[in-house]
């Protein structure tokens, strides 16, 4: 557990290497992350968290680059987390989103981190929230989390954000695909990128109609549809304005309560992980389960037995503690 005090000190001093290390700890499930974040947690909550998702090829990285650029002209500092899928076969990943953000590399007010999904059940959501907390405590004004919208894990990731922007672009059936995939349901703002391409107007109309049907009368927030072209730098201000409006809306509608629920979800995830780890590595449940299975019992039977054993131990400990 060496280097931890040193990293905390560097973290507080504003050394990007320290926030980078903190995120690695979070990714690796290193307990040093908990120590560090506890130390700086009073600072968490300052940043606005924007989640950006959408199908592959929608131009998300280019859009993130443009958003960051526009935020910088407002003198806002920005932490960016770019999540890419890990290879299910090798567990490795190729993280290339920085390519589109190259001109931000040397900007002192920007931090960019590439993260692999590592494909572990719920682990990605936990790590993403940790990474956002770390960047938040580090002092960034805005946090942008970019992820490919292809599956449930990605929804969870963006759900951790205050404002979720779903990016689509004209092209064969993208609008329909997005609706089918349920992307619209997580969107607080819909961005139609590459708006100069044929089909953009149609896509915008379709999306507006879909939003209207889904939300009219049911929600106080009507998801706006914003046309933009990241490659040309068009419509970025409109997009940021839409995010701002959503932020004002949430502030007027119990932002603290919403954020508390998100933190609760994180407590839930971490607790689940801890319990599982305790049972399977510390608690010897693996051997016990194996022994029970070898005696021919069904998995459900084994669970029932182990669960009552767990509760009994828990009760015993509580009584013992009295």
């Amino acid at each position: 557990m060496n280097a931890s005090p040193d990293i905390t000190e560097r973290f507080k001093r504003g050394d990007k290497g320290a926030v980078a290390r903190a995120i690695s700890w979070a990714e690796n499930g290193d307990p040093r992350f908990a120590t560090l974040i506890a130390d700086v947690y009073s600072k968490v909550g300052h940043a606005w968290r924007i989640g950006i998702t959408g199908p592959p090829g929608a131009g998300k990285s280019t859009l993130v680059n443009e958003i960051a650029k526009a935020l910088r002209t407002r003198e806002r500092t920005v932490g960016i987390l770019a999540v890419d899928p890990s290879s299910p076969l090798s567990g490795g990943a190729l993280l290339g989103d920085r390519i589109r953000m190259e001109e931000r590399t040397l900007d002192k007010g920007i931090y960019i981190r590439s993260m692999a999904s590592r494909g572990s059940h719920g682990g990605l959501s936990r790590t993403t929230v940790d990474a956002c907390d770390a960047m938040d405590a580090f002092g960034f004004d805005e946090i942008v989390v970019e992820t490919v919208g292809v599956g449930q894990a990605e929804y969870d990731v963006v759900s951790a954000a205050d404002t979720v922007v779903v990016v689509l672009c004209p092209g064969a059936g993208d609008g329909v695909q997005a609706m089918k995939a349920g992307l619209l349901e997580v969107a607080d703002v819909l961005a139609v990128n590459k708006a100069e391409l044929p089909g953009a107007d149609r896509l915008i109309m379709d999306l507006e109609e879909a939003v209207h049907i889904r939300l009219a009368g049911k929600s106080t927030w009507m998801t706006p549809v914003v046309a933009c072209s990241a490659a040309r730098g068009d419509g970025i201000e409109d997009l940021i304005a839409a995010v701002e409006r959503h932020r004002e809306h949430l502030k007027a509608h119990d932002l603290d309560g919403i954020r508390r629920e998100k933190r609760l979800a994180q407590v839930h995830r971490v607790l689940d992980e801890r319990i599982a780890e305790h049972l399977w590595s510390g608690g010897g449940f693996g051997e016990r389960a194996r022994a029970l299975l070898d005696s021919g019992r069904s998995p459900y039977d084994v669970v029932a037995e182990l669960f009552s054993a767990l509760l009994a131990e828990h009760r015993h400990q509580k009584n013992g503690a009295k």
Binding site: G57, S61, L94, G96, D97, I99, R100, E102, A231
Partner: protein, 553 residues
Amino acid sequence: MSAQDVKQVDARALWQEAFEGARKRDVDFSSVSGSKLKGLYGPEDASVDFARDLGYPGQFPFTRGVHATMYRSRLWTMRQFAGFGSAQQTNERFKFLLEHGQTGLSTAFDFPTLMGYDSDHERSRGEVGQVGVAISSLRDMQTLMDGIPMADVSTSMTINGPAPILLAFYIACGERQGVDPKLLRGTVQNDILKEFQAQHAWIVPAEPALRMITDVMGYCSTHVPQWNTISISGYHIREAGSTAAQELAFTLANGMEYVKRGIAAGLDVDDFAPRLSFFFDSHIDFFEEIAKFRAARRIWARKMRDTFGAKDPKSWMVRFHTQTAGVTLTAQQPENNIVRTAFEALAAVLGGTQSLHTNSMDETLSLPTEKAVKIALRTQQIIAEETEVAHVIDPLAGSYFVEAQTNRLEAEAEKYFAEIERRGGVVPATEAGYIQREIHRSAVGYQAAVERGSKKVVGVNCYEEDHDRTPTIEIHKIDPAVERDQHQRLAEVRKKRDAAKAKSAIDDIRDACKGTDNLLERFVAAAHAECTLGEIAQVLRDEFGEYKEPKIL
């Protein structure tokens, strides 16, 4: 069925049985591009309509060659690519090559020049003169061409992003030598699409880059009529790892895009298409390469005549330069590279190339030494003078195998054309990284095949020798003094020139960027005003922005 036919059928069945029953070597029977190969090809594999698919040399569809006489009238141009260090050092190498029987010049530039940076730019540090010659100003170009009669020699310049600027230096240099631009002969590569796809030296994004290309086509058609305005290049696509079919398809697709752009800019296709030339790789798979060259001619002729409505037979012709494949050279046992290069050069000649560069054996290690360059040139001379292969036109036509491969490559190229079309054309397909990903996939596949041992490379995965990392042959190194001298030369140029004239030339370029005036015309004026490459390129960056590569991986 006649008795003759019955006998044929029997013979075929007999062979089939003998062939299939026999033990085979345990190797992957496929082309170097991974295309499965049969053990024997016959008439049923090579459906060819002689008049439609082959014809006669010098006639549509030019499968058999672009000239009626081919090498009987004139051998191909032996054109060794050269350039390193300072303009003066390269000038000396040029003269050495001309003295040894080379018939055309071909210029390699260093990376700063290729990217449009002056030698004294921060990003040029350590790179000046390293892989080619550093040319930052008209003065450098004058040194490069010093003592070389520009009216008599044809010069090829491998430059793309800043091609119009370097061409402007060349035109201005000719004018200073007293040579009418109408007499200048040569080529600028000027093929920006393949830069985005494979070679990766660029300045501005696709649209302004393509506009500059049509400006070059427009300007040259009246002022420099003998100049080849683009050399549409498959070489770098192949070297980046593509298959033969991908090289063929992407190169011709790029070519067709330039033609579309020229037509859209209001030019008559027959005014500029005859000045388009091509540049292909000659890889190690002998027959596949020969078929590729033949297919290229046939596809282009058909597209130009039937799709673009060109009337001038010169617009239909693929005239091409070939370079042997740098990627097939090995650092291990470098002398073997002489042999590889000889086979590749022979394929290019049998494929009907108009000019040829043969690689030197030491090029995986450094720039070639004089001795290595001479052997490479002698390789071509041996093919030309000793082997007697140059006497007969398209000698492999009618080979069942070669015709089958020619047909296959044409069909594979057509599939790619359709896919690119489906993606909205070459520019969107490139900006989305599709073409780059196709090339990357082939490159990774080939590397894996070599490491598995299913593709063999002598000295690398078979017949290896114990060797240390220090190569056993002489290495050519660039003296760091070259960079310092360049800084001094540039400082002098900037000090001595008429500052007001230079500034007004730059302002004129800025205006032309905002409007539609021909940029090459402004570049020529700026060259005469001693503006530097970097100064001119900076205006382009300011006005048009910089190209950004898409995410491929």
